[in-house]
């Protein structure tokens, strides 16, 4: 996206993203960075990064950042938030990270109502390790470990994270968005903003799920990948607000 080069949010460093052409991680980073700037939170923010394609977040964000072991970001963020008064804490996690190896951590952070924001990038695949099946891989979808397509009889069904976490009383806000077109980027931005507000008003756990393109893992040109998000992923993972307890004015 051309506007990415024009004006870099203060909360990002000058480092160029390493993501593949058409990958949505970069857009999502940018939305989060812009929102950090908007709320003037750069000096209070502590980001917990995943193991996955976004493992380089510490080089991209000009905020304090902690790496977490694969899947454990919610546990790391829980502790940071609890010992750091007045700091703004968020995790950024992929679907393998959050919905497979880190399932226990995300479920319990949500159940405890930890006052953190989780930015969850669902690209239906393991990007970093070379395109294997993720817990969110669509039925029939071909991956490196489901060469004949995901057979739900053998590999089970995709996990719908937003739907799964929304019922917990500790959860204040969950919305599923995508960033495949400028119109949707604007909607996604407002979801990020809302998630921030929930933490700032100490309402408890908030999560934004981004349906995200992985052209490399999917073996598709970027334009087709964006279209695939809209046409296929949204059927399995409908967009919308799954939880919203309400903000103070």
């Amino acid at each position: 996206m051309s506007n990415q080069i024009l004006e870099r949010p203060k909360s990002l460093t000058q480092k160029q993203f390493h993501y593949c052409p058409g990958c949505h991680h970069g857009i999502i980073h940018r939305l989060i960075a812009e929102t950090i700037d908007e709320f003037d939170l750069r000096e209070k923010t502590i980001i917990v990064q995943p193991v996955g394609c976004a493992v380089y977040i510490y080089e991209y964000f000009d905020t304090d950042v902690s790496e977490a072991a694969h899947g454990r970001a919610p546990a790391v963020a829980t502790a940071i938030k609890r010992v750091s008064k007045g700091k703004f804490v968020l995790t950024y996690q992929g679907d393998g990270d959050l919905a497979a190896i880190g399932t226990a951590e995300i479920v319990h952070a949500a159940a405890r109502g930890e006052n953190i924001c989780v930015f969850f990038v669902n690209n239906a695949i393991y990007g970093m390790t070379g395109g294997q099946m993720a817990p969110t891989t669509l039925p029939g979808m071909k991956t490196a470990t489901t060469p004949l397509g995901r057979d739900v009889k053998k590999q089970g069904y995709p996990i719908k994270v937003s739907e799964m976490l929304a019922p917990f009383e500790g959860v204040s806000y969950i919305e599923r968005v995508m960033v495949s077109s400028p119109k949707h980027v604007i909607k996604a931005k407002s979801a990020v903003r809302k998630a921030f507000k929930y933490q700032l008003q100490e309402k408890g756990f908030s999560l934004v799920e981004f349906l995200s393109a992985c052209p490399t893992g999917w073996g598709m040109p970027p334009v087709d990948a964006a279209k695939w998000v809209e046409e296929n992923m949204t059927k399995q993972f409908p967009l919308g607000v799954y939880k919203e307890v309400g903000l103070d004015d």
Binding site: Y58, F61, E67, V76, V83, H108
Partner: protein, 351 residues
Amino acid sequence: MVRVLMKGTEAMAEAAIRAGCSAYFGYPITPQTELIHYMSRRMPEAGGVFLQAESEVSVINMVYGAAAAGVRVMTSSSSPGVSLMQEGISYLVGAELPAVLINVMRGGPGLGNIQPSQSDYFQSTKGGGHGDYKLITFAPSSVSEAASMVYDAFDITEKYRHPVMILADGALGQIMEPVSLPEQGASKPSVKNWALTGAKGRPANKIFSFYLDPKGLEEHNLHLQEKFKNIDDEIKYEEDISDDMEILVVAYGTVARILKNAVQKLRGEGKKVGIFRPISLWPFPESALKSASMKAKQVFVSEMSYGQMLEDVRRIVPDEIEVKFYGRAGGVVPSPNELYIKLKSLLERGV
């Protein structure tokens, strides 16, 4: 200093609070449950954070988070729980984060049982998790020592930015003894300009152990190795030896304590028996043990395992000195009399 009667687990918990530990994360497991119970009550009183996590995997990553944020943090567990923490401990080492960990060892392998054991020596002192590292490991043999060890561990872990393990066993966790509790506030958290506190008036801080470039990772490892060498300053041991020992007894923790009785009895019978107790298991008191062993005709090692520390002792003691071993495992604690008989028969057979 206040002198009170306390259980090992509780004394360690209270010592941590007095050392300024302000975050504790835990998951129930016998035989260290009293420690987590104690912390659930005392930590909030002391203005700190207590959290019972969903697993030891989460616990160690919470410890990692709190350490990254710059506060003094501790966890405690027992053998199976500590096994689950190994990946996280490796991350603490890689990211150079200070934390105090307690393992109140129980019988294994597998679920084993809840009785005392010393079978996690390898796990603690040889690395445990992935990567090139060793964990600073101290083994107390009395409640009082356990308390002061935990207290000092907070300074040591910060000094090296390297986690410290207190390797206790179920017997030590459970016994009650008079303890002189260290003073609150005498030990102060160090200033940590690397900690994550928000990038205000300074460049952003990053906590990570990821070095994609092999040269970068090698450099990081060289730095760690260099640091590990300095940890030799923390070597601790206790010895009660003479120049012409028939036997030098080597043991740590609860077994060392039991052996002391046997040694006293034998000395009463005019036998020349010395005792050497490693207190730091890593770094191991190598040169002290070597010179002590050279004053003995033979060396006797006893552990509540089938010979883990034994491998270090065999490596260190000169080849011409015979090293004998007696181990009990599965949660069986050798009795003073049993060890006395063992030693006596070794003495009678002569060398």
